[in-house]
């Protein structure tokens, strides 16, 4: 949010409230207590008692403040309203011409979030559930904004109904634990990617925020159904929203009413670490459909048909069958190398797919050399058996993007290297040794 240009609300708007004497916090509590006492003693309504106390002190009672049910019902231009909301973000800035500080940020409930500015002392913390009384609503930069001034009263409230849950309630979970249909998400994450976008909802454009978040346990795409101030490479705790299965990958959906609190940078591993492929087991990939590249350690069991020298469409690179591209029909085509194999890590198995340079590297020759050899031998299966003897039954570490469909898990391989991580095995064994004693 740009705070530099923020203008203080116009005085005229507040003059309309017509208060004559500024009330301090003490005098207000004083009056309230006096009114309660009077109401009890005289058996009258609190309202009547308050009038009487105000009259006896020469103060004017505050005009009754209209309670608005939820933030989405606010409309600019209304004054003197009351509303409950959760303090979602809080910043401060200097007023123009040395007029002191003001505060701004976001307020949220289960319906939406709304920016606010406070032109008075504002001693609250992010996550506090607040009752805001005698506040005004204006339009500021084409958005509805709540204005808190020195005639407003802001206090913490215990009435949390309809508010998003507090940051102090509960312990944040991890991305790895999320499953389809998880609700009331509460996670700490780092933003790997974020971008604003627009979707058409009911024929009108709606601004949304999309991106990818990660923690130590996993990565997930998210969509926020509105604009939010998330910044790439910063850490946040996000409370609210739900998880949906989106074409085999999980996606975290929330709206701007979710609580979003920025966390210290050291709360999560650095961006580079989180972008690294996650060491995973195939069974895990299958059950939680974790998003993003994974690292799998296992064995190639079987190089399958479709491996070896293939023809690709020269227009789109798709694999051709009988000289035909599935999209472009009969095209010229060019030679390519491909690998399809069963990979097993002891927890499950997956089909791995690799193309081009990775396969060239495994074979130790370029596609042009393979083409030349085949022109002489005329035996395309020789490439497959070469791949089989190079790969089968050996330990491999692969890095790639997994996807899950009705045929199981397949991994599009980006890197492939042979051998065990002996250091990892030694350190695992050492840390497990307690069980041997």
């Amino acid at each position: 949010m740009d705070n530099e240009e923020k203008a203080a609300p116009e005085e005229a708007a507040e003059g309309a409230l017509g208060e004559t004497i500024e009330m301090t916090e003490e005098s207000y509590d004083d009056i309230k207590n006096e009114a309660h006492r009077l109401a009890r003693e005289l058996g009258v309504s609190l309202e009547e008692a308050a009038r009487s106390v105000h009259a006896s002190r020469g103060t004017s009672p505050q005009a009754p403040s209209r309670m608005i049910g939820s933030l989405k019902d606010l409309s600019p231009g209304t004054v003197n309203i009351s509303i409950r909301a959760r303090l979602v973000t809080l910043h401060d800035a200097e007023r123009n011409e040395g007029g002191g500080k003001y505060y701004y940020g976001m307020l949220g409930d289960s319906t939406t979030t709304v920016p606010f500015s406070a032109w008075t002392e504002f001693d609250f913390n992010v996550g506090d559930a607040l009752l805001l009384q005698n506040v005004n609503v204006r339009e500021w930069k084409e958005r509805t904004e709540i204005v808190i001034n020195d005639r407003s009263r802001t206090s913490r409230t215990d009435d949390l109904d309809g508010l998003v849950p507090s940051l102090d309630d509960g312990v944040p979970g991890t991305i790895g634990e999320l499953v389809p249909e998880s609700r009331r998400i509460d996670i700490e994450c780092r933003v790997l990617e974020v971008q604003r976008g627009e979707v058409i909802v009911k024929e009108s454009p709606k601004e949304i925020t999309r991106g990818c978040i990660a923690d130590r346990t996993g990565r997930m795409d998210f969509t926020c159904w509105g604009p939010v101030d998330l910044i790439r490479d910063r850490c946040y705790r996000i409370i609210g929203g739900y998880v949906k299965d989106h074409r085999g990958a999980l996606r975290f959906n929330f709206d701007p009413g979710a609580i979003i609190r920025e966390l210290p940078d050291d709360r999560l591993p650095p961006l580079e670490d989180l972008q690294r492929p996650l060491p995973s087991r195939i069974a895990e990939v299958n059950s939680r459909r974790s998003f993003g590249p994974v690292m799998l350690r296992g064995m190639v069991l079987d190089v399958r048909g479709g491996s070896g020298l293939i023809r690709r469409c020269s227009d789109c690179g798709r694999r051709m069958a009988k000289g035909q591209c599935p999209v472009h029909g009969r095209t010229k085509g060019e030679d390519g190398l491909s690998l399809r194999a069963i990979f097993d890590d002891g927890s499950g198995s997956a089909i791995i797919r690799a193309e081009g340079p990775i396969v060239e590297h495994l074979l130790g020759k370029r596609v042009s050399e393979v083409s030349e050899e085949l022109k002489e031998s005329l035996d395309p299966s020789s490439v497959t058996s070469e791949l089989s003897s190079r790969l089968n039954g050996r330990p491999w570490t692969i890095i790639g993007d997994p996807s899950v469909d009705e045929y199981g898990i397949s991994v599009s391989v980006k890197e492939m290297s042979e051998g065990f991580d002996i250091e990892l095995l030694n350190s695992d064994i050492t840390s497990l040794m307690g069980v041997l004693i």
Binding site: P279, G393, N426, I429, M433
Partner: protein, 282 residues
């Protein structure tokens, strides 16, 4: 969705001492599994070791080989015949002994004496190297340790990759847990005795102390200690091995590592055995 049963790396003894159980396969169909003594559920196994025996028991037109694969914990015999054409080609070319990795389905047959014998229907036989074989053994040992950990400890497994469903409960209770411990120890020591005996020893010492020692004694420190012990126990003819063992037990040191240290000192010529059962420092 058609699903393959995973190939589980195991040590041979773990498999042989397992129990045969029926259950549902990954694709929902009935399956015969072995629940190994360390709690692995195995339909298809990865075994690595040395092919020790290769016997041509076939006849013209019906090739058949009997083979035996051994690892530090045990050995298993299996046959390769005309139904495994690819395996047959590999087997006919190799000469024993040779390092090899085998993947196959576990199966059973009844011997002439009426005993049920476990064997393996090899789907893959791959000649390998010592270091790759050791890698498979470390992997199998690590996974067995993790299963034991999940069976016997209250704390979560201290390394990642073991968050999935827990191990099966093997038959045999505490006795089989103890046997599994011994098997893993045996396997690790056969791969790298100095490294793993020291690691085991450090854990034992920290368990005895009741607190974690940050630094275990180095091998050289042990060598010095042992030489001093032998000198102090030497009444002229050398130190008696039995006295040394008593001394070791009083000092709560590990016998495994002391044996290792002694053999290293003997190799270096810093100790010698004047009479069998006696040790003397040079």
């Amino acid at each position: 969705m058609k699903r393959r049963e995973p190939a589980v790396p195991v040590l041979i003894q773990d498999l042989l001492q397992g129990s045969r159980e029926g259950g549902d396969g990954a694709d929902g169909g009935p399956r015969t599994y072995v629940i190994t003594r360390s709690g692995a559920r195995v339909y298809r196994a990865v075994l690595s070791g040395v092919l020790m025996e290769k016997e041509d028991i076939g006849s013209p037109g019906s090739p058949l080989f009997r083979l035996r694969l051994a690892d530090p914990t045990g050995g298993i015999s299996f046959t390769v015949g005309r139904y495994g054409q690819a395996q047959l080609e590999v087997v006919s070319r190799l000469s024993v002994p040779t390092f090899a990795t085998i993947v196959g389905k576990v199966s059973f047959f009844t011997s002439k004496r009426g005993e049920e014998v476990m064997t393996i229907n090899a789907e893959l036989i791959v000649p390998t190297t010592k270091s790759v074989r050791d890698g498979w053994h470390k992997l199998a040992a690590r996974d067995a340790l993790a299963r034991l950990w999940r069976m016997t400890m209250d704390e979560p497994v201290p390394c990642s990759g073991f968050e999935g469903p827990g191990p099966e409960v093997p038959r045999g209770g505490e006795e089989s847990v103890e046997a599994t411990r011994e098997m893993i120890k045996q396997c690790l020591l056969s791969i790298d005795r100095p490294f793993f005996s020291r690691a085991i020893d450090e854990h034992r010492n920290s368990a005895l102390d009741g607190n974690e020692r940050t630094e275990g004694a180095s091998f050289e420190e042990y060598e010095e200690q042992v030489v001093q012990m032998i000198v102090s126990l030497d009444k002229g003819d050398g130190a008696r091995w039995d006295d040394l063992v008593d001394h070791i037990q009083k000092k709560k040191l590990s016998r495994d590592i002391i044996e290792e240290v002694v053999s290293s000192l003997l190799d270096k010529g810093l100790l010698y055995e004047p009479i069998l059962g006696y040790l003397k420092a040079v």
